[in-house]
């Protein structure tokens, strides 16, 4: 089946305005007859819940954590992009759009990416009005910094805690709507299934994580804003509860999963150190504004970094990509780092790390300036590694960070299931094969504050308020099935813990479907994943019961989903016989070792339909049509 992204006609710059005008509307008095479920309270879910309630809809919002304020978005450090052009350095909506689409290696939908750039400025206005304390210069105006893949300074930030401040802004608006009775908040709930009635999304089944009880919730539309699946690699910069579960349940109910193999490995994370390790900590991309990345020129050089003279250092990003230097986009920087380490030039105990050095900038600007800019990151590093980065260069290595793939959505952010909308990292639409830094926060808030409030109206206006209640048999069926899955997990009583199996899955994915992929490895991965899935079904052990708080049981359900989902990711990676952005197939590279796209055969979104347990998924394609930009070879040299 060929998918239709429902991109409106007209000039690129006029599409959104025109579409907003053409969308059907729900009149203000009727809005209160509609109920909307929002799953997730990150930037996408928090902002959409608030904005939809402000319009008058009745919203029910769900999250896993004990409070909506703790969604994973809270951890974003570096910043959020917008095309304000306050520094007068040549930015514009067009440039932000172009950088984003080029950064994504021309694998995103042009019209969506353009709209993202268009609403970016409203986001900054909105956040300032909410009381988000962005960094300011001495004159009291907003300050900007630079991020990878851009030659202008367009990133707004609140120290190293931008995600926290933006999320607390959304959370405050959400709290206001909770107090007004327009949002009913359900924390510590995990969505275990999506409920369809006559092919339309009409509700969800959740588990109360404290009592273990199932609950059914009905609505006129369901919005998923459940984040990304970076934890498929086990070790990642994501919070421990990040999972693919909600999206995967929707997939099993017929929603298409788009470009699952597009994952982002972030170049600057604190390297792996031991077996017990539970997560990897990001060192914000903003550090690459001032830090210089290098390795010793000679493989196996064991001297301490400060003892290695300038002439024996290789600042490899500056050497390979002179025009972007240390600010080359993430996929490029990560791959380059891996290459250096594979060539034996890596440093640290494992040889899988490179230096990020601040010596020059400290000499230039002084310690005070640097500590004001990055103090909290430096402290974080020192605390984890027990070395002082003001004196000794940091050691960094790439880690799983973000997932560009996600549920397929059209221009209205609706999936192929009527009434199921998907926002934020959970959808696939705006970043193509690689996301630029500071663009995920922008997308989450764009989707939530400025897009869904319009597009959901267009859907609801054509649908009478739902008569479906939670005693509809479809809810009962979904509950039964979820309960069975849980009972099964508890009954296996094998010999391996959930984390232990998850860690092994992560190693498989990292090795064969990480920064570089090839056919042989991917085929091997499929076999290994299938074996591991069997191992899990026979030999996992889940302690405790299903009638009180049981984190191991929650994790078991999520890992079971990852074990199935991983195969889909690998299948997608196998099918995409080209290199683009974060998807680097070793068979398809230029002589200089850069990604080689195949626009002839792969200029499309790969959207997969569930084919049944153990069966191959069904491939659908949305051709990507570029009306306004020319497809060029991405070059950062």
């Amino acid at each position: 089946m060929q998918l239709d992204g429902k991109v409106p006609g007209g000039q690129l710059s006029e599409k959104w305005d025109r579409h907003r005008f053409e969308l059907k509307m729900v009149n203000p008095a009727n809005k209160r007859k509609y109920h909307i479920i929002v799953v997730g309270t990150g930037l996408a879910g928090g902002s959409s819940s608030a904005a939809l309630a402000e319009l008058g809809y009745n919203v029910k919002t769900f999250c896993i954590q004990d409070s909506p304020r703790r969604a994973h978005s809270i951890a974003a450090q570096g910043g959020i992009n917008a095309a304000k052009n306050y520094p007068n350095d040549g930015d514009s909506i067009w440039r932000l759009f172009y950088d984003t689409i080029k950064g994504g290696d021309f694998r995103s939908r042009e019209a969506n990416t353009y709209r993202l750039a268009q609403v970016s400025n409203n986001i900054i206005d909105q956040c300032v009005a909410q009381g988000v304390p962005f960094a300011r210069d001495y004159g009291g105006l907003l300050a900007n910094r630079s991020f990878g893949g851009a030659q202008v300074s367009r990133t707004f930030y609140a120290r190293g805690q931008t995600g926290q401040q933006l999320l607390l802004g959304a959370y405050s608006s959400l709290s206001r709507q909770i107090a007004a009775g327009k949002v009913k908040m359900f924390p510590r709930r995990e969505m275990l299934d999506l409920v369809l009635v006559n092919g339309q999304a009409k509700g969800i089944v959740v588990r109360n994580l404290i009592t273990g009880e199932f609950e059914s919730h009905e609505a006129d539309a369901v919005v998923l804003a459940t984040g990304g699946y970076g934890n498929v690699y086990y070790l990642s910069t994501n919070a421990t509860s990040c999972n693919v579960g909600a999206a995967f349940r929707a997939y099993k109910k017929g929603a298409f999963f788009a470009n699952p193999c597009f994952t982002q490995i972030h170049p600057t994370c604190i390297p792996h150190s031991g077996e017990y390790q539970s997560k990897l900590t990001l060192m914000s991309e903003s550090l690459r504004n001032d830090g210089r990345v290098w390795v010793p020129k000679n493989p196996g050089d064991k001297r301490r970094p400060n003892d290695i003279p300038e002439s024996e250092r290789d600042y490899f990003l500056e050497r390979k990509y002179p025009s972007y230097g240390n600010l080359a986009p993430r996929d490029v920087a990560s791959r380059s780092t891996k290459e250096e380490c594979d060539a034996g030039k890596g440093v640290g105990t494992t040889g899988y790390a490179v230096y990020l050095d601040f010596n020059d900038v400290i000499e230039r600007d002084g310690i005070d300036t640097i500590s004001k800019k990055y103090g909290n990151l430096f402290d974080m590093y020192k605390n984890i590694i027990d070395e002082n980065p003001y004196e000794t260069p940091m050691m960094i290595y790439p880690a799983s960070h973000y997932t560009m793939g996600g549920l397929w959505v059209d221009y209205n952010l609706m999936s192929n299931i009527d009434g199921l909308f998907v926002l934020g990292e959970a959808n696939f639409s705006d970043h193509g094969a690689n996301r630029l830094g500071a663009s995920a926060l922008m997308q989450g808030l764009a989707d939530g504050y400025f897009i869904i409030p319009y597009t959901i109206g267009g859907y609801l206006a054509g649908t009478a308020p739902s008569e479906v209640s939670a005693d509809h048999p479809a809810f009962n069926e979904a509950t039964q099935a979820a309960d069975e899955r849980i009972k099964k997990l508890l009954a296996i009583k094998g010999k391996r813990t959930v984390d232990n199996i998850h860690r092994e899955l992560g190693q498989i994915m990292w090795k064969y479907c990480g920064m570089a992929r090839n056919k042989e490895g991917l085929n091997k991965a499929i076999k290994l994943i299938q074996e591991l899935r069997e191992e899990f079904r026979e030999n996992v052990t889940v302690p405790g019961s299903d009638s009180d708080y049981n984190l191991s049981l929650q994790k078991a359900g999520r890992v079971a989903d990852f074990l199935e989902f991983a195969e889909l990711m690998v299948t997608d990676a196998l099918a995409r016989e080209e290199s683009c952005g974060g998807h680097f197939r070793e068979e398809y590279q230029t002589e200089e070792g850069e990604a080689k796209r195949d626009d002839e055969d792969f200029c499309h979104v790969a959207a997969w339909e569930y084919g049944g347990y153990g069966k191959a998924p069904i491939f659908h394609k949305e051709p990507l049509v570029f009306e306004s930009v020319e497809l060029t070879t991405r070059s950062y040299k």
Binding site: A75, G131, G140, A158, Y171, S173, T240, D386, D548
Partner: protein, 257 residues
Amino acid sequence: MKQGINTINITLKVWRQKGHKDKGRFETIPVRDVETHMSFLEMLDVVNERLTLEGKEPIEFDNDCREGICGMCGAVVNGIAHGPEKGMTLCQLHMRKFSDGDTIAVEPWRARAFKVVKDLIVDRSSLDKIIQAGGFISMIAGGAPDANAIPIPQEIAEKAMDAAACIGCGACVAACPNASAMLFVGAKISQLALLPQGKPEAAKRALSMLREMDELGFGNCSNETECEAVCPKEISIANIALFNREFLKAGFGSSEK
């Protein structure tokens, strides 16, 4: 990474409680060969793996980001909320701060307004309720003026950011002899009162948040300063003074009662 792996042996005395109706008790668990590079939570992970394989129930504790920002984790370690290191959450605490042979007591936050859910997990929804009572600026998506329309002196923006850094973990409540949430409330009120956008509602906000705090069973502030000492974000009690000012204004200066 410093070369070499150091390990220590410790004894955990950890609080086990099935639910809020259960009485709860300390359980003693000897733990051998703890690598000092581990974080405190990774040490608990290792203990939990072992308990699981022995067929026992693991120790339940809240955590998510594991980098000190989500506010999900927290326990009282050797009598101190979030443990012995200043300005740090429990997930950022590393085992290198402990010595071989140490006995480490771990208990949940204890406060009237926080019920124990299980083991080290408590119910902090009362903090959300305080925010719902007024910890926001009343505005809706779409109506904002240009972000640079109102310049805000850098010093003020920085002060607001200091207060806004609160992660809502509840350590301040756990540490306070009166189980007051005054630092939490004060931080939010200061952040918003400092910014021009938050000024119009400042007085009303202070009054209504404080009222909610009382109703939820939090105690009063008697300047014990224990909260500031344990705050992982080192939020200053100066925020409480600012709060009091807002509160006084609200009490005497406005029609809001």
